[in-house]
Symmetry: C2
Subunit: 333 residues, 2 copies
């Protein structure tokens, strides 16, 4: 039996790092993960990653030939290969691509995690056929990948799309980027939690969340209690949608996109978040944009979009992969 | 003597409409203008424009062959040819390109005035060789033309770059778009005037501007008094730069541009505006962007940038103009 060429897509999140094995037709063959442990030394992290990947390849009796690796990470830079001062990891200005090539000996590219999710969405998800769209990833923070005329927007130095750090509230909530009032301090899993605590401080009404310490509170818990009608939780989703909707209205008039796609844990709260977001989005939009821009929930599974996007991206740099994905008219400039 | 092929670039402003005659090498041969009279019927406007252009061509004993017209106008749409509900003109959803073709019988394109200025800047000005930049035009309102990888960003429906209507102050100043707190109500000639009046209401200090009625106040008067040390005028420029700098910091992290270029009347106030703008821009930027993005004053003359940009744009649609500008690696998608 001949070897099957594959790529690996890796998505480094604040908590977990997802790993996907992808064939040259873009099919996800299997996936796994390791904890990220963002305070750990970077080389230790790569060694753990290496062990995990080697052990999986071994399980399949080496029937797969690893042709390349695409990595998605926060504040990753496609042009330099660096991970630059990611807000939720302790690594600083690491040349991740160089390190990966040293350990894996295969072509490797890195891209911002939200950009990878946007590429995944464009190739496999809601954004198929949509050349101008904005992907918003709602996880620990808020990421943003932007497609302009069918290409991912990287900007001069590969750092475009840091919309999560747009200041939406001057003198607002403290952000781990060192500034105040960034969008992601309101709109993200962490932001939702902060909103709940703020609402608990402001209102006197009953809430089951008054029994849960801040550090144990998750967006999943808030979601579950919102479904049960907890008014603090409902208010929290409404407020989150309000901040998100208004911010998306501001970014939309810069880009004039066809769609905005919400991805990640918080996006799975469906109407709880989508409804207030769309309401405040339309209400805040300049008239010429009203009722033109769709806000959609991603159709990709959590932890898959960025893995697929990153895994697809590296195919572009492997000459032998000329069939498959590269035919799908996807280009990165 | 043979006929010389030319294009005409037209820039429809809130007050005046600039007209430029441009040869196929992009050289501005001559320029003129007519008052816009934005409350006038659109056909009357086009007839006045037509008379003016014909009379100029006549003066030159018809040595010029008019090959095409490029028009820059507020809220103009390259894809549809429409001028859609411009905030500072009474025309509503006019198919301007169709009307122009009817009167002039030559190929005609239309584009947003700030996009035209950005194209002019890219071909003739500060942005030569800069593929990712943002052009901010400061006139009656605030316009924005954005270059991404060497192309003007139009977005899904040609309306990208309406950054002047980003809401920067919730419940802020009333805007003639019907909403409140838009950037251009603070940062524009009109915004500066409103800021002066606000400061006159807040402070008790002496100012020569206390003797000037609102309707007679211009940004030029404010500039002149600022030069003479009028503290209200100095504060007004400082505040304008503060709002602009903070807003540019927010848009920059979406686009990661190499430069931001300020164009138009207010930009000519040089350091009075540039200094506070740059100060608050750098102070507000996410760390990874600091000291990377230049804020520059346009090197193009007022009333020339958009005329040149629009006049160059139409060359793309004239097959016989294959030499000249189209070689300069400028493409519109």
């Amino acid at each position: 039996m001949g070897l099957t060429d594959i790529t690996i897509g890796i998505d480094i999140g604040g908590t977990n790092t997802a790993i996907g094995f992808i064939d040259f037709n873009g099919k996800l063959l299997m996936s796994d993960s390791i904890p990220t442990l963002g305070n750990e030394d970077i080389e230790k992290f790569i060694m753990r990653l290496h062990s995990k990947i080697i052990s999986i390849l071994d399980q399949f009796h080496n029937q797969y030939n690893l042709a390349g690796i695409g990595v998605a990470a926060p504040n990753a830079n496609y042009f330099t290969g660096l991970i630059e001062t990611p807000a939720n990891l302790s690594w600083r200005n690491i040349n991740f691509v160089e390190l990966m090539k040293y350990y894996f000996k295969v072509p490797t590219v890195i891209i911002n995690d939200a950009d990878a999710a946007a590429i995944g969405e464009y190739m496999y998800g809601q954004a198929k056929g949509i050349k101008n769209f904005i992907e918003i990833t709602l996880g620990t923070g808020l990421g943003c990948g932007i497609f302009v005329d069918g290409n991912i927007l990287l900007g001069k130095d590969g750092l475009a799309g840091e919309f999560g750090h747009a200041i939406v509230e001057p003198y607002g909530r403290q952000c781990n980027c060192g500034r105040k009032g960034c969008l992601e301090t309101y709109v993200s899993a962490g932001g939702l939690r902060r909103t709940v605590y703020n609402l608990l401080s402001y209102y006197i009404e009953f809430s089951n969340l008054r029994d849960i310490p801040f550090n144990q509170l998750t967006s999943e818990i808030i979601y579950q209690h919102a479904l049960k009608g907890d008014s603090i939780c409902l208010r929290a989703f409404d407020y989150t949608g309000q901040v998100l909707g208004k911010s998306l209205a501001n970014i939309s008039l810069c880009f004039s996109p066809e769609a905005i796609i919400l991805f990640g844990g918080l996006a799975n709260s469906d109407d709880l978040l989508l409804k207030p977001t769309i309401h405040h989005f339309e209400k805040s939009l300049l008239n010429i944009f009203q009722n033109k821009i769709r806000i959609l929930k991603s159709s990709l599974q959590d932890g898959k979009a960025a893995v697929l996007g990153a895994g697809s991206l590296i195919l572009k740099e492997i000459p032998s992969s000329k069939s498959g994905l590269v035919n799908k008219n996807y280009e990165i400039e």
